[in-house]
C-alpha cells in the first residue's frame, strides 16, 4: 500500500482510539476543529457541513451541550470526556473498523464502565467492528464477542468469549484467568501469577514461545513452534498439549 492509500484508510476506513486521552488531543486546537478536520479530509465536506456533523457526533458520544463544547479546548475536558472526543474522531467517517488500544486503562473505574458502554452502544448503532487491545480480561468479558490471546507476538488462542472463559485451551490463557481476582471467592486466596518473563523477541524463535514458563511443556514444545490448531467450534489454540485429554495432542 502506498503512503497515500494508507492515509485514505487511516481515519477513513479505520478509526483509532488511543490509551491516554490526556495527551492524545492537540492542546491548542478546539475540540470541534480536531473532529471536523477528519471529516473534511475524508468525506469531501465543506466547513459548515463538517461542523454540523461534528455537533451530531459530539451528541452521539454523550457530550452534553455540543454547541458550547465545540469551541472548547482539550484542557477544559475531563479524561473521560476527552476519550469521548477521541471516539467521536474515530467514528467520524463511519469506518468499518475502530482499533481501540487500551482505551480505558488511563481512566477511573467508573468512567471506564461508561466508555465501555459507549463502545457497545456505538457498535450496535453503527455496525462498526471494534478491535479492542487490552490487558484487562474483565473488560474483555464485557465487550468482546471473539477474543484473540496473544503471547510473544503470536496468536496463542482464538475463541468466542464465553468459550474462552469456560474452557481455555492454552496454558497461557489458563494462567491469565488464574491471575484474575474474583469478588466471589470468600477464603483469602493468593492470586496466581505466571512465573518467568516473556521471551526476548529479538532472538528468532525455534520452539513454543511459552515453553519457558509452561507447566505442561514436553519434548515437542522445545522442537517446533505450535501452529493454531482447531480445538472446538470457532476455537483455535497454538498448543501441543490437550487440556481435556490431559496429554499431548494427536497429530
Amino acid at each position: 500500500m502506498s503512503p497515500e492509500e494508507l492515509r485514505d484508510v487511516r481515519g477513513g476506513q479505520i478509526g483509532f482510539v488511543f490509551q491516554d486521552p490526556m495527551s492524545s488531543l492537540n492542546p491548542i486546537l478546539t475540540i470541534g476543529e480536531q473532529i471536523s478536520e477528519t471529516l473534511t479530509r475524508h468525506l469531501d465536506m465543506s466547513k459548515e457541513q463538517a461542523k454540523e456533523r461534528t455537533l451530531k457526533l459530539l451528541a452521539q458520544v454523550g457530550i452534553p451541550d455540543p454547541k458550547l463544547r465545540y469551541k472548547n479546548y482539550p484542557f477544559e475536558f475531563s479524561g473521560g470526556m476527552r476519550q469521548r472526543v477521541m471516539i467521536a474522531i474515530a467514528i467520524a467517517c463511519t469506518p468499518e473498523i475502530v482499533i481501540a488500544d487500551e482505551p480505558t486503562t488511563a481512566l477511573d473505574v467508573t468512567v471506564q464502565a461508561q466508555i465501555v458502554d459507549l463502545f457497545r452502544r456505538l457498535r450496535e448503532m453503527l455496525g462498526v467492528a471494534v478491535i479492542w487491545i487490552t490487558h484487562d480480561l474483565g473488560v474483555v468479558a464485557g465487550v468482546a464477542e471473539r477474543v484473540l490471546v496473544m503471547y510473544g507476538g503470536r496468536p496463542a488462542e482464538i475463541a468466542l468469549v464465553d468459550d474462552l472463559y469456560e474452557r481455555p485451551q492454552h496454558p497461557y490463557t489458563l494462567g491469565l484467568l488464574g491471575a484474575l481476582p474474583s469478588l466471589e471467592s470468600t477464603e483469602s486466596k493468593r492470586l496466581v501469577s505466571i512465573r518467568g518473563t516473556p521471551p526476548d523477541l529479538l532472538i528468532p524463535l525455534k520452539n513454543c514461545p511459552f515453553a519457558w514458563r509452561c507447566d505442561y511443556a514436553f519434548d515437542r514444545c522445545w522442537e517446533e513452534i505450535p501452529p493454531l490448531i482447531a480445538v472446538g467450534v470457532r476455537h483455535q489454540a497454538a498448543c501441543f498439549y490437550d487440556m481435556e485429554k490431559g496429554g499431548p495432542r494427536d497429530g
Binding site: 483509532f16 491548542i28 479530509r41
Partner: protein, 306 residues
C-alpha cells in the same frame, strides 16, 4: 483574556515603580549624591552650592516625590555633561538602537527558524549538522572578539563595510550580525528541539491516525505548538538587544543607547544614567507585555487562565 492582560499590566506597572525606586536610590546609596556628580577638585563651597541647586538638602521623601513627578512625564533633569534634558538625549539614541536590534533580530530569526525547522524535521541530515554547528559557534564565540575579527577582515582588508559609525545602510550589517549571532544560535537549538519534542507527542500520532496529509500535520499541529516557546525567547532576546549592547555599540561606534550608557557612566552623568535606565526598563517591560499577549493568542491554555 482580559483578566490575564490586566493582571500582566498590573505586574508591569508595579515593576516599573520598583525600577524608579531603584534608579532614585542608586545615586544615593553611597551617601552624598553631590560628591558623586561633581568633580573631586571642586571647592566645598561649590559642592554645597551644587547640592542646594539640585535639591539634595531637602527631605528624602520630598526628593523622591519630585523625582517621581518628573519621571512620569519623562523629566529626569538635565544632563550634567551636555546641559540638555536627559530624556531627550536618550530619545535621540532610540532610532539607532531600534535599527540595530531590529536588524539583528531579523537576521537571527530569518536564518535561525528555517535552520531549526529543517533540523527538527530531518535530524541527522547535512543541513541539521550545519545548523547545529552554526548554533554552537554563534553561542560560544565572544562578541567583542568576533567584532574585532570582522572589522579586521571586512572593513580593513576587504573594505566591504565601514568599520564604525552609522552613515550608510551598510553600516548596520556588521554590528547587527555580531549582535544577532548568539540569538540565532539559540533560536536554531530551541526550534529544533521543540520540533523534535512535539513530533513525538501523542497528539501527533492522533493526527496521523486521522489520515491527514503530512503537510497539514506539520503546519497545523506541529508549527503552532513550536511557536509558543519561540515567541517567548524572541521577546526576551529583543528586550536585551533594545537595552542596547554596550560592547557592540562601543566597538562599532554605533550611536545607540548602549554607547550612551557607556559614555554617561564614564562621565558620571547621573541624570543621564537614570534616564537611560528608566527608559530601557520601560521598553523591556512593554516588550514583555507584548510577548505575553502574543503568547495568549497562540496558546488557549494561557488565554483562559489555566
Amino acid at each position: 483574556m482580559q483578566r490575564y492582560f490586566l493582571s500582566k499590566l498590573g505586574q508591569s506597572i508595579l515593576l516599573l515603580f520598583g525600577v524608579l525606586l531603584l534608579v532614585f536610590f542608586m545615586v544615593r546609596v553611597t551617601g552624598d549624591p553631590a560628591s558623586l556628580m561633581i568633580s573631586r577638585e571642586a571647592s566645598p563651597e561649590a559642592v554645597e552650592a551644587f547640592r542646594e541647586k539640585m535639591g539634595f538638602n531637602d527631605p528624602i521623601l520630598t526628593q523622591f516625590g519630585r523625582f517621581l513627578s518628573g519621571a512620569v512625564v519623562g523629566d529626569f533633569g538635565n544632563s550634567l555633561h551636555f546641559k540638555s534634558p536627559a530624556m531627550q538625549m536618550v530619545m535621540e539614541r532610540v532610532p539607532a538602537t531600534v535599527q540595530l536590534a531590529g536588524t539583528a533580530l531579523l537576521m537571527a530569526a530569518v536564518v535561525g527558524i528555517p535552520l531549526g525547522l529543517i533540523g527538527g524535521f530531518n535530524p541527522g541530515s547535512a543541513m541539521d549538522n550545519l545548523g547545529r554547528g552554526l548554533a554552537l559557534l554563534g553561542q560560544s564565540i565572544p562578541n567583542f572578539w568576533l567584532a574585532l575579527i570582522l572589522i579586521l577582515i571586512f572593513a580593513v582588508r576587504l573594505g566591504w563595510f565601514p568599520s564604525f559609525g552609522r552613515d550608510e545602510w551598510k553600516s548596520v550589517v556588521m554590528p547587527a550580525f555580531v549582535l544577532g549571532l548568539p540569538t540565532m544560535g539559540q533560536i536554531v537549538r530551541l526550534t529544533r528541539s521543540t520540533v523534535l519534542e512535539i513530533r513525538g507527542e501523542d497528539f501527533i500520532r492522533t493526527a496521523h491516525s486521522k489520515g491527514l496529509e503530512p503537510r497539514t500535520i506539520y503546519v497545523k499541529h506541529v508549527l503552532r505548538n513550536v511557536a509558543i516557546p519561540l515567541v517567548s525567547v524572541i521577546g526576551v532576546q529583543f528586550g536585551y538587544m533594545l537595552g542596547g549592547s554596550i560592547y557592540i555599540e562601543t566597538i562599532f561606534s554605533w550611536p545607540g543607547m548602549g554607547q550612551l550608557v557607556e559614555q554617561s557612566v564614564g562621565w558620571r552623568d547621573f541624570p543621564l544614567v537614570q534616564a537611560v535606565a528608566f527608559f530601557v526598563s520601560l521598553v523591556v517591560l512593554l516588550l514583555n507585555l507584548l510577548t505575553d499577549v502574543a503568547y495568549a493568542i497562540i496558546d488557549p491554555r494561557i488565554r483562559y487562565g489555566k
